[in-house]
């Protein structure tokens, strides 16, 4: 809740600062002269400042709530309690009461610490000491060293002077004490607002882990090999899919027999998510390379076939007529009119197919693989290496984005006539 409010606050504050206070940062080109911008889609373009602030905010929030060392300390959200603290309990036995102090040392999980030695003190209730890890809680068996034990009728009736009954909770300095059903106090140190590294490691930890994995590798393969294997599968599966799918799409666009024969198959297979094929492919081809290539081939095949088919159907009939009346043969029309005319559609299909293949390969590797980006994050999660999981997700995202950019670039270079017909 607090992070969400903070995020909204930054969003609103940045909006007012950038648009109202820093006037110069506004748009100053032709669009700024438009009086109607609400409803004019062409006048809405991503605000560059907003984009930069948005990304910075994500890292800022990440750092704030993980206690990142990249940020100055005063920006950190309150962290979990660490150090020594105490509370007193009041025990009652045989009509008499006695107070005793519990000394607690709360230690970071990676630095185990022993409970300190304490003076037992006087009375039938003796002082206790206990060591508890951050973000954890611990039962304090206060009667363990007392003269009158719980089994002999001793009862904890108050914490820090506040009366308490089993199941109730009392706030004490640096934590809370809950009396268990059986009457034993349970101390939970203050957690603060930060995320436990197990759930969300700090950015710099992910970064150093990335460097470490890049140099040492992960599970017998280097980072590049893991990513390379995933990419290799995608490229090979996609190429095979395109190799079969594009001619199939052309045949479906040019011959009614092919269209009739393959329409039911393509239309049925198109809505089947490739992920649903994973179990079947594993049964047929096992978890090795062959299975993954087959899966990606199937993922790309239908998309490419449909793209090529609609590319052919999209040829303006006047272009074909013009070519015929200029004396072109069927083969020449195929080569000089139909193929170039369908290339933009095929490129759009290829972009979609590459995206789908990338998602499918990661999913397939999550299920079963010896190496690959998906296998890396799945294995890491089993060992609670959250930093590797986050690193993997970021790398998968970056590569997916890179693939899309590459396809767009290729499209601009190879089919500059797209959308110009």
């Amino acid at each position: 809740m607090i992070p969400l409010l903070m995020y909204i606050l930054i969003f609103v504050a940045a909006f007012f600062i950038v648009t109202k206070v820093v006037r110069g940062a506004g748009i100053s080109d032709y669009t700024s002269l438009k009086t109607v911008t609400f409803g004019d889609e062409s006048a809405v373009r991503p605000n560059r400042a907003a984009g930069i602030i948005s990304i910075l905010t994500i890292f800022l929030m990440w750092g704030v709530f993980t206690g990142s060392t990249l940020l100055p300390g005063f920006l950190h959200a309150p962290g979990p309690f660490k150090g020594d603290t105490t509370f007193t309990y009041t025990a009652q036995a045989d009509g008499a009461t006695d107070d005793a102090t519990v000394s607690i040392v709360v230690y970071p999980r990676e630095e185990p610490t022993d409970a300190p030695e304490v003076d037992p003190g006087d009375g039938f209730a003796k002082n206790d000491s206990v060591a508890i890890a951050q973000w954890r809680s611990g039962l304090v068996r206060v009667d363990g060293n007392d003269d009158i034990k719980k089994s002999e009728g001793a009862q904890v009736i108050a914490i820090n002077g506040q009366r308490i009954a089993p199941g109730e909770t009392v706030s004490v300095e640096n934590g809370t004490v809950t009396l268990s059903d059986k009457g034993t106090p349970n101390f939970a140190p203050t957690r603060g607002w930060q995320m436990e590294p197990l759930y969300l490691p700090a950015p710099e930890e992910v970064f150093t882990r990335t460097l470490q994995i890049a140099s040492e590798g992960f599970r017998n393969f280097t980072l590049l090999e893991h990513l390379g294997f995933s990419l290799f599968r995608v490229v090979l599966g996609f190429l095979l899919g395109a190799l079969v799918g594009i001619p199939l799409g052309y045949a479906m666009g040019l011959s009614d027999w092919f269209r009739g024969w393959f329409d039911p198959i393509v239309e049925f297979m198109r809505p089947v998510p490739p992920l649903a094929l994973i179990p079947l492919v594993i049964i047929w081809a096992g978890i090795g390379e062959a299975g993954k290539i087959i899966l990606l081939f199937l993922a790309a095949l239908w998309i490419m076939a449909i793209a090529a088919r609609s590319g052919v159907s999209g040829v303006k009939i006047s272009k074909v007529h013009a070519a015929y009346s200029l004396g072109a043969s069927k083969w020449q029309i195929m080569r000089h009119v139909i193929v170039p005319n369908s290339l933009p559609e095929i490129f759009t299909g290829a972009r979609v197919a590459m995206g789908v293949c990338w998602g499918t390969v990661v999913a397939a590797e999550l299920v079963a693989a010896e190496q690959g980006a998906g296998m890396m994050i799945m294995t890491a999660s089993k060992f609670q290496n959250t930093d590797i999981v986050i690193m993997g997700i970021i790398l998968i995202g970056v590569i997916g984005f890179g693939i899309d950019m590459l396809m767009r670039w290729a499209e601009r270079i190879l089919v500059p006539w797209k959308g110009k017909g």
């Binding site: 303006k316 006047s318 272009k319 007529h321 013009a322 070519a323 015929y324 009346s325 200029l326 004396g327 072109a328 043969s329 020449q332 000089h336 009119v337 170039p340 005319n341 290339l343 089919v415 500059p416 006539w417 110009k420 017909g421």
Partner: protein
């Protein structure tokens, strides 16, 4: 015999509901080599169907067509076509578009380049040779379409409202260009248009078609095309016969339109 001969041409489309449309009925026409015919008529009179049949894109349900003595059965380079717009190949440069026909015939590179250069000079696009066609204005694109058609040296040029999408000023310039090309090349041209003025200016012969069923309603022989070859088209429009002819044809077409509306109202 030379020239295009159309004899008792009929075209009947069957409709999915069991009915049919008689798009053309008993259309007969003889066109000598080098004649320029403009075809005018209300929408639905079968102008475009007629052109598509002559081009060979449609097989008529009745009648025979011959060009220079042989029967027309399908599309061929002897009959070039210029479309309204969007029929250029946007993946090719202006030069490649114009050279498309010669390339298909496997003409040697040098001969092809010579033809292309000459035609680009004729239509005034020499400076745009290497541009992509989508970088040109609508008028320039139609010049490319004309040049592309001429590069193939067809016997007959079929024009399906080639200037229909252009603005008035560009249109007038293009009309002069069409007349100039007609005179210089001596091609037989059939030009379909919606504009009465254009039909009068460009048609050495003019036929007005009537709808339901599509047929030739009236035929004219006009002097304006000859006059326009050497004169400003605006001067031609001031010719004493031009205005009355235009009114006559406009009235004719208006009557046809009203008749169509009338039959529709009767049906309703």
């Amino acid at each position: 015999m030379t020239g295009l001969s159309i004899d008792n041409l009929s075209m009947r489309f069957d409709l999915p509901d069991g009915g049919h449309v008689q798009a053309l009925q008993d259309v007969s026409l003889d066109l000598k080599a080098g004649e320029l015919l403009s075809v005018l008529g209300p929408s639905g009179c079968g102008k475009t169907t007629l052109l598509n049949i002559v081009a060979g894109f449609l097989a008529p349900t009745g009648g025979v067509m011959t060009l220079n003595g042989h029967q027309i059965t399908g599309p061929d380079a002897e009959r070039g076509m210029v479309f309204q717009q969007g029929a250029l190949f946007e993946w090719m440069s202006v030069r490649e578009n114009v050279g498309f026909g010669p390339s298909m015939k496997g003409m040697p590179k040098n001969d092809k380049a010579e033809i292309v250069d000459h035609l680009l000079d004729v239509v005034g696009l020499q400076d745009f040779k290497e541009k992509a066609v989508y970088e040109l204005s609508g008028g320039m694109q139609q010049r490319v379409a004309l040049a592309r058609c001429l590069a193939n040296d067809p016997d007959v040029i079929l024009m399906d409202e080639p200037l229909g999408a252009l603005d008035a000023l560009t249109r007038e310039k293009m009309q002069s260009l069409v007349l100039k090309l007609w005179k210089e090349t001596g091609k037989t041209i059939i030009l379909i248009t919606h504009s009465v003025e254009e039909a009068l200016l460009l048609g050495e012969r003019l036929i007005v078609m009537a709808p339901r069923p599509g047929r030739i309603h009236k035929e004219y022989r006009l002097p304006f095309a000859e006059l326009g070859v050497n004169a400003d088209l605006r001067e031609v429009k001031k010719h004493e016969d031009f205005g009355p002819k235009r009114e006559e044809i406009l009235n004719m077409i208006w009557d046809m339109e009203e008749e169509i509306m009338g039959t529709k109202e009767d049906a309703a």
